[in-house]
Amino acid sequence: MSENKTAFVLKDICKNFGNVTAVKNFRLDVKDGEFISLLGPSGCGKTTLLRIVAGFEIPDSGEVLLDGKSILQLPPFKRPMNMVFQRYALFPHMTVYENIAFSQFLKKKPKEETQEKVKKMLSLVQLEGFEQRKPDQLSGGQCQRIALARALINEPRVLLLDEPLGALDLKIRKQMQIELKNIQEKLKITFIYVTHDQEEALVMSDRIVLMKLGEIMQVDTPKRIYNHPNSRFAATFIGESNVLEGEVAQIHEDYLVTNVDGLQFFAQRTAEVKAGDKIFLAIRLEKVNRIDKKTKKSFDNQFQGKIEDVVFFGSSVKYYVRISENIIMISEETIVEEESDQGVEEKNIGDTVAIGFAKKDVNVFLE
């Protein structure tokens, strides 16, 4: 990424629809060339926010600053941003060429220049030679690529993407995720990407903005947000976690001792907590290890338990281990090649097993 100067700033944006709060006090600085994902369940206000940036909605209060200047007064067609819609929104009465060239035509650019540019865009999205097709002759994935080309030909400062892969099937979606990321890195355009798919956000983003009910829950890099979620919501919405309820017993300099259903858990000290506080603990499934006799690793937290269930997921296996009367912890193990034949074949339901995990992998939050 080039110089990380701020491209645009969202300042205390609020938007209500009647009595429903769609966006509340939203503030975010977006750097030039950054890939930002707005992630959240449906109804969390992420699309509304994108539409505010695009100019289709006007916020009740707040500012949208691009290079320090407010763009709120500008109608959508004067903003240096373009949008990719979930349902492609290709003009059905125009060919692929006309769709992509539409904005250039409106800007009265010379024909040769436009033709050249359309060609470049089509090669960028790997659909060379599709100029004369009509949108109804394209597959969903192809439509979305054309929509992307149509938005990018305008060389927008910011590209807004509203769940652009939402209507595609899984395989094409995964492929498009990589392609989108590559295109973004190549063009160094700021992308604001709205999605409810946490995996999509993790794969593509430089930073993820996690939202819930119109408010920001956490803004961080995918890695940090995954490893150090700051709330129970973040821990469960992004990836899967074992979530346990407990109480703080002791506070040490860099770790906590907590009490969960009579068991002692060592956890990393993150949240501001006092002894006696009710807390939630979240541990990623894959951080919970099964300890067998061969691996003589030891962990900060170790428990004996009974395997209640083993579920096979292709590349991984989940073990449901009951470590106390009320606690079942899930351990997810990637199947290593040599093991893969036995992995599930081992009939270990009912077996006693030891599980362990490091205290740095135990995230604690108040709620």
């Binding site: 695009a54 100019g55 289709f56 109608p75 959508p76 067609f77 941003m81 373009n82 949008m83 819609f85 349902r87 929104a89 290709l90 003009f91 059905p92 009465h93 006309e98 060239a101 539409f102 904005s103 035509f105 409106l106 800007k107 024909k111 149509r150 938005a151 305008n154």
Partner: protein, 284 residues
């Protein structure tokens, strides 16, 4: 195989109905149009005399042209006044949609004849328009061109036919997703350009359907001209009717009817063809 048969069973009732009451009579008329009327009666033969006879007397071509002109003007006015209604119902006053569409349908509840008579009273020399104008003092003598003129026919037909143009335009606008309009906006088109480049082309099927409805119905109408058209407003439907009713020249009436059908098909195809060419010309 079985599937195909089931399909046909469902089509049979309407097909039978149309065969007996539309295709068969139309075929009979078509055959008549090649017969001859003599003083002794109808002679079954094959002659183009009836078709050529249309051009023997200036009255017929003039009346045909007048009918087409009145039909064309009516259809254009219908489309022009219907489009804004359908557009605003679709994009601006969504909540009023049901109410307004219901009101439009209600206007179809009353009989066509009753509505034509109503216009006759409204437009007449003692009608409400002339009374008001005289009361205000704008005129001293009643405006006579209001009634018994092509203008009166157009006014009446526009009133009767607007539902037939609003509905198809409305339904084709309904199919335009808001995304497309936003996308055009986003790509740099202001409201006017969005309308001209996206909304209008996408609603053209409805406009064409509405135009064809109102054009064919008004060109062939023969009740309205008789009631409000006067002598200046003689239209071809009346002449065809007279061939069957008054002069008993069925062959000529049939020929006239078939000539009109042929002419309207040609004109409608020209119209579709012109819009298709305009569409192609828009390439950029």
């Amino acid at each position: 195989m079985k599937k195909v048969k089931k399909h046909i069973i469902l089509l049979t009732p309407l097909f039978t109905y149309f065969t007996f009451f539309f295709f068969a009579p139309m075929f009979v008329l078509f055959v008549y149009s090649f017969w001859l009327k003599t003083s002794t009666g109808l002679v079954p033969t094959f002659t183009l005399h009836n078709y050529l006879y249309i051009f023997s007397n200036k009255l017929y071509p003039i009346t045909i042209l007048r009918s087409i002109r009145i039909g064309f003007i009516t259809a254009i006015i219908c489309v022009i006044i219907s489009y804004p209604v359908a557009y605003s119902l679709t994009f601006k006053y969504k909540k009023l949609q049901d109410v307004v569409l219901y009101l439009i349908l209600i206007s179809l509840f009353s009989s066509y004849l009753v509505r034509v008579y109503a216009w006759k009273t409204i437009l007449g020399s003692n009608g409400i328009i002339n009374q008001i104008l005289r009361y205000i003092g704008l005129i001293e003598e009643p405006l006579t061109f209001l009634l018994f003129s092509p203008t009166a026919i157009i006014i009446t037909l526009v009133f009767i036919l607007t539902p037939f143009t609003i509905l198809p335009i409305f339904s084709s606008l309904q199919n335009i997703s808001a995304d497309l309009i936003e996308a055009a906006n986003d790509l740099g088109a202001n409201k006017l350009k969005t309308f001209y480049r996206v909304t209008l082309p996408l609603s053209m099927p409805g406009v064409i359907t509405g135009f064809i409805f109102s054009f064919t119905i008004s060109t062939g109408d023969y009740v309205t001209p008789q009631l409000v058209g006067g002598t200046e407003g003689l239209m071809i439907g009346r002449i065809v009717q007279d061939q069957f009713g008054m002069t008993y020249n069925w062959p000529f009436g049939s020929a006239l009817a078939y000539f009109m059908i042929f002419l309207l098909i040609v004109l409608i195809n020209c119209f579709i063809w012109i819009t298709a060419i305009l569409k192609l010309k828009r390439k950029f």
